[in-house]
């Protein structure tokens, strides 16, 4: 984990994007440390818990972070901690990557796609949401690649269905060597399963409640199989939010599997 910084960040931009707001925050100390997959933690009115938001992009030169959030426009300053979590792994070699995002969770995949492309990678995007209004990043993805497939549950844009349903077909179409996915467990579990069937890597950014975001509260645990083959609880905020999708015991989230070791 990059060393996180806590600061009061000025909101220097706020623009509506579909059903979401794109916030631009001035955070010159944090911005240079951000990698795709890192998240930011914002304090709201609650005196204990914070809100975790994936960082959509960071501009080290401008000293800014961008977040895609639900709700109305924001102004003033926010209580920010960033960057947090374990980001997506990036290699210097070019990859053929399928990026699978659900709703606003797609936001960090766009910055990831830019970096993969800069390394000579080939990209395909599979973007889904319940409705057309809840989609995020379709235009930005289209600027990176012509291989953008849109899926909505109500059929209001693109294919009708769930985002992972055309995944195998989309992965084969670009001969993907790796899948990068972001969303809640019910999107990531089938995504990881399809990737495993196809024999390709799957890096999954798990969207879940992170009460503190810093690893202190230990409330956000998911059962993960370690390199030693032993399952333990891993904190989504520190060991994650990006996990090797084949290592997460998706079906056991919310349980304590009998073979789980203490941590």
């Amino acid at each position: 984990m990059a060393h996180p910084v806590r600061c009061r960040a000025e909101v220097v931009g706020c623009a509506a994007e579909g059903a979401y707001q794109r916030l631009v925050l001035r955070a010159p100390e944090a911005a240079p440390r951000v990698r795709p997959g890192h998240f930011a933690s914002l304090a709201g009115e609650h005196p204990v818990v914070r809100d975790a938001v994936p960082i959509a992009r960071a501009d080290a030169a401008a000293g800014t972070l961008e977040l895609v959030v639900a709700g109305g426009p924001r102004t003033g300053t926010v209580d920010l901690i960033a960057p947090l979590g374990t980001p997506f792994p990036l290699t210097d070699e070019p990859v053929r990557a399928l990026l699978v995002g659900h709703g606003a969770h797609s936001a960090p995949l766009l910055a990831l796609g830019e970096q993969l492309k800069a390394r000579g990678g080939q990209l395909g995007f599979l973007l889904g949401a319940p409705t057309a209004a809840a989609l995020h990043g379709v235009e930005r993805a289209g600027a990176l690649t012509q291989d953008v497939l849109v899926v909505t549950e109500d059929g209001s844009a693109g294919l009708t269905g769930l985002v992972f349903e055309p995944l195998a077909q989309a992965a084969r179409a670009i001969d993907a060597s790796v899948v990068f996915a972001a969303g809640p467990p019910d999107v990531l579990a089938p995504t990881a399963a399809v990737a495993a069937d196809l024999g390709i890597r799957c890096w999954a950014l798990l969207a879940t409640d992170l009460p503190c975001g810093t690893g202190l509260c230990a409330a956000c645990v998911v059962p993960v199989i370690g390199a030693d083959g032993v399952s333990r609880f891993a904190r989504a905020c520190t060991e994650g939010p990006v996990f090797d999708g084949t290592r997460v015991r998706w079906a056991d989230i919310g349980t304590v599997p009998a073979d789980l070791e203490g941590v």
Partner: protein, 315 residues
């Protein structure tokens, strides 16, 4: 009186703490060290260490409630051996003064842990987690009964090295916290930590089932501060009245700022601890110490120790 002239040193029984601010059990370690140098704290209390590794409860483990946080982690941890090999040396290398929170399923397990931890580097005290909501669902509540509390503390006091102070952490939901406190002190407790989390329950409005996987949980945060202050005030009063021997009290429960810390001192706490405040702001310790200095100076108090027990003075 200027804030920088205020003396924050906090004698706590045999411990000479550089300041009165500790972390509450379970809220410190590698994560906190990214935000605060651990040696800047009066002391660091570990998460509760048990004899064997424990996975803890399933998720959801936490629910935000009005002005508080309800949690049921189920005492997860690596067990004493992994703690002694991996976690404790790391804390000691950073100069942290470490209070190790311990719990067992039986009195003998508490005693064995105390014996194992005595003399290990960095350990300045033991805090006995003798009963909180985490224990209730395991069928383990020692702190609800004075006689059992007495036996437990006595067994630990005998097993731990004489120079290592032992603190009993008291639960607030007991018939008489003063009776429990008296039993613990008479059994040899060198100090009292007050309070453990307050038992609570939240219902998920969508499922109409308990919001936490474990069902009930322990409430922390600003919501419990008056409950904790009452407990500290009550037990300190009993000490002043001679109903139990005087030992230092570590006050905790919903402290988020310097004025909260000062309130606990006035109620009778010789040191204070923060827990949920760190979740909201991991940099809180240094801010709280600054605010405490300012608050003491503004009241003409030259030393933190001058504030301890002020709420009980008649003049």
């Amino acid at each position: 009186m200027e804030p920088q002239d205020v003396d924050l040193r906090a004698p706590f029984g045999p411990l000479a703490l550089p300041n009165p601010l500790l972390t509450a059990a379970g809220c410190a370690g590698r994560e906190l060290a990214k935000f605060v140098p651990l040696d800047a704290l009066g002391a660091v209390t570990t998460r509760t260490v048990m004899p064997r590794p424990r996975a803890g409860h399933p998720t959801p483990r936490a629910a935000a409630t009005p002005a508080g946080l309800l949690t049921a982690l189920g005492l997860p941890g690596p067990g004493i051996e992994a703690f002694a090999e991996r976690e404790l040396p790391w804390l000691a290398e950073r100069g942290a003064r470490v209070v190790v929170s311990i719990a067992g399923e039986r009195i003998e397990e508490f005693a064995a842990l105390a014996g194992r931890l005595g003399g290990l580097p960095g350990v300045v005290g033991l805090e006995l987690n003798i009963g909180g909501p985490s224990h209730a669902d395991l069928g383990l509540v020692f702190a609800a009964n004075p006689a059992i509390s007495y036996d437990l503390v006595r067994a630990v006091r005998r097993a731990a090295p004489a120079e290592l102070p032992v603190y009993a952490k008291l639960a607030p939901d007991v018939l008489s916290i003063t009776d429990i406190a008296a039993a613990c002190v008479r059994a040899g407790a060198d100090g009292l930590s007050m309070i453990n989390t307050v038992p609570g329950l939240e219902i998920d409005p969508d499922t109409l089932r308990p919001a936490l996987a474990a069902g009930p949980g322990g409430l922390s945060g600003p919501a419990v501060r008056p409950v904790a202050l009452r407990c500290v005030h009550l037990v300190h009063s009993a000490m002043l009245a001679g109903r139990l021997p005087t030992v230092p009290i570590l006050g905790m429960g919903g402290i988020t700022g310097g004025l909260d810390a000062l309130a606990f001192a006035a109620a009778g706490a010789s040191a204070v601890a923060i827990g949920s405040a760190l979740l909201h702001d991991p940099t809180a310790p240094l801010r709280i110490l600054d605010e405490l200095r300012t608050a003491l100076a503004a009241r003409g108090l030259a030393a933190f120790t001058d504030a301890v027990g002020l709420a009980h003075r008649r003049d």
